[in-house]
Amino acid sequence: MAIWFARSRNIVSSLRHNLNLSGILSKRDYSPRPAFTNSQLSSRSVFLDSITSLRHESTAVEKQHDLVQQSDEEDVQELDFPGGKLGYTSEMKFIPESSPKRVPCYRVLDEDGRIISDSDFIPVSEQLAVRMYEQMATLQVMDHIFYEAQRQGRISFFITTVGEEAVNIASAAALSPDDVVLPQYREPGVLLWRGFTLQEFANQCFGNKADHGKGRQMPVHYGSNRYNYFTVSSPIATQLPQAAGVGYSLKMEKKNACAVTFIGDGGTSEGDFHAGLNFAAVMEAPVVFICRNNGWAISTHISEQFRSDGIVVKGQAYGIRSIRVDGNDALAVYSAVRSAREMAVTEQRPVLIEAMTYRVGHHSTSDDSTKYRAADEIQYWKMSRNPVNRFKKWVEDNGWWSEEDESKLRSNARKQLLQAIQASEKWDKPPLTELFSDVYDVKTKNLEEQELGLRELVEKQPQDYPPGFHI
């Protein structure tokens, strides 16, 4: 009996394949259905019945027993559970921890800046392309000069975007000015694209009286309501569920706009990543989530951050359409973000983009990344996988850019930045009253008292306090 039984499965399988009788052959079904009698539930009688049906090729037997052939391809019968109908299987099979193949990366330009034949992409006009290139180059100059300014002690802190210029500028170029951006902190290029001036960047870094943020936060914590760019905050990933709320608001107001929010590879480990994606999906909010997977979260390599195939595979877990794109390919980023934005707005749904890139610079001016990664690795990405050079080649090949344009742009940008820094440095800090305002919409009594007390103190002992503040 036991031996016979053990072989039965093989017989059934071979019959199934050889005779193509999958519709008729039956398998054990232990689901608690009242139509079944006890005898029908025993494997032996079921098998005998199936042999009978095979001989007679009768579908009547199949109906009578209400048994199903279960394979991966056919869901003849389904089970109802909260959440909808499910096929079932008696084959115990675990979904593997990873796919045999990693999700491929969408790219349009090869490393030499040539469009790969048969690429899908949204064409970019000369005007747009030149502007994109100019902004990427300006961003490079900005990064270099502010970094040096920090080294010289003129500003306290800085974060560069080196290596991620394409993600910054191409994504910004693909959005509409009405799209509300919730950045992490490595996306000043989006603000630059929208019109934030070099002077405005410098003002925030120096925290002077012209800083829109009124000197309250560390450098690079830019924000601009004029350009729909939410103020940067240091905590990681907090902007993601907020983006879902922003997107929902835009949807309710029927605006032709979406929320766009950025996060790094490290940030996707935060609980707010899960919260943000899940809410955006459930609320059907128009949000584009852009993850800059640059390989490093300060000194933590992605191999220490997650065991999934990056971030793109997580989208489906939330019911979110996703794409992996070569983040160093400006044309690919442009097309992907543009498409994602259209989907988000017209279909009122979130979209996830994982932009593969590399953080060429240190995490910040407080970091020396040669302590945890090979200098060779950094050099390689800086020289051979440079997104700015790659896009430059394409723009040049089209005859839209010359070396003369290049040197003019860079020297102009440099000059403007140095001037901006010199000016920012000279200006006063915000008046002392700005220490106490905006905690609430209106100053509360305790704040008024504290301001009075502090004012008296500063007047009495000014030597204890830094200069440059009007009382």
């Binding site: 509300v180 924000g223 905050s233 907090t238 569920p241 709320g245 899960h274 899940n278 305002s437």
Partner: protein, 357 residues
Amino acid sequence: MASLLGRFCRKLVVPGSAHGSRMVSTTSCDSEAVKSLNLYSAINQALHIALETDPRSYVFGEDVGFGGVFRCTTGLAERFGKNRVFNTPLCEQGIVGFGIGLAAMGNRAVVEIQFADYIYPAFDQIVNEAAKFRYRSGNQFNCGGLTIRAPYGAVGHGGHYHSQSPEAFFCHVPGIKVVIPRSPREAKGLLLSSIRDPNPVVFFEPKWLYRQAVEEVPEHDYMIPLSQAEVIREGSDITLVGWGAQLTVMEQACLDAEKEGISCELIDLKTLLPWDKETVEASVKKTGRLLISHEAPITGGFGAEISATILERCFLKLEAPVSRVCGLDTPFPLVFEPFYMPTKNKILNAIKSTVNY
């Protein structure tokens, strides 16, 4: 069983209502209709009015769609639609983060955290984001339209995770407001003020009073100002300060103390952050004695802030040390609740020892 509850099983007469407490309203209400409502119904009314008067307001959280586990959101989804009143996934950081996003776009987001005990996953969003949203942006952005409601406090059988009073954590965060009503009528007016206040507000509702407290509540739209404490019982020998459900207990202690010839002044703080120091100061300068009572554990509780401030302002007027009658420094226990709680008799003992100092 009654002793385990340590309170009253019958419907409570809310403190202050029988003593002609001033009700501040935006319009003269002598001829306005009132209705006998319990706390959850009063809150429900406030939410109906809030959604009615501002088309860009939203109510959401876990289970709010069918009316909520405490029925505070009954009828809202049916009346205003599932676009404005909806269930969220079970994720407090998502609820508050989503609310901040909505509020930052100029909407009013009235979010519900199912129990104050579960507010902690949202602590980062509240402290690092909501509280600093306006300040850090130089007033370019704000999330003043955010109001976070959560049931708090002992309920007789709640144990560690259905009884907490976490107000002290939030009172330490510049940029938000913390409001706690004592009764149905107060709750409706304070909630409407909180929702309409241009700052993010954390609104703790004493769950014990959801059904237990019944009061005449005006049916119209009225607001009770924030940061204004109220003397709900006048006296001359000692000032008692409290908030929420604890005021009921304190009032009973005051009545007992009166029988022994001690005249107690009882103050409802209502807003804990920013709190009305002037009203408490004026009272203590009159009585010379202060007692603070709250369910939350005594160490680091908000009573410490009140005590320190009053000490600074009224030192020479004080006849006795400031007394605090609070929960013990333990997680909120289940079977030991009657021992843990700052009961009427504990308060009465403290009143007497303060007066006899």
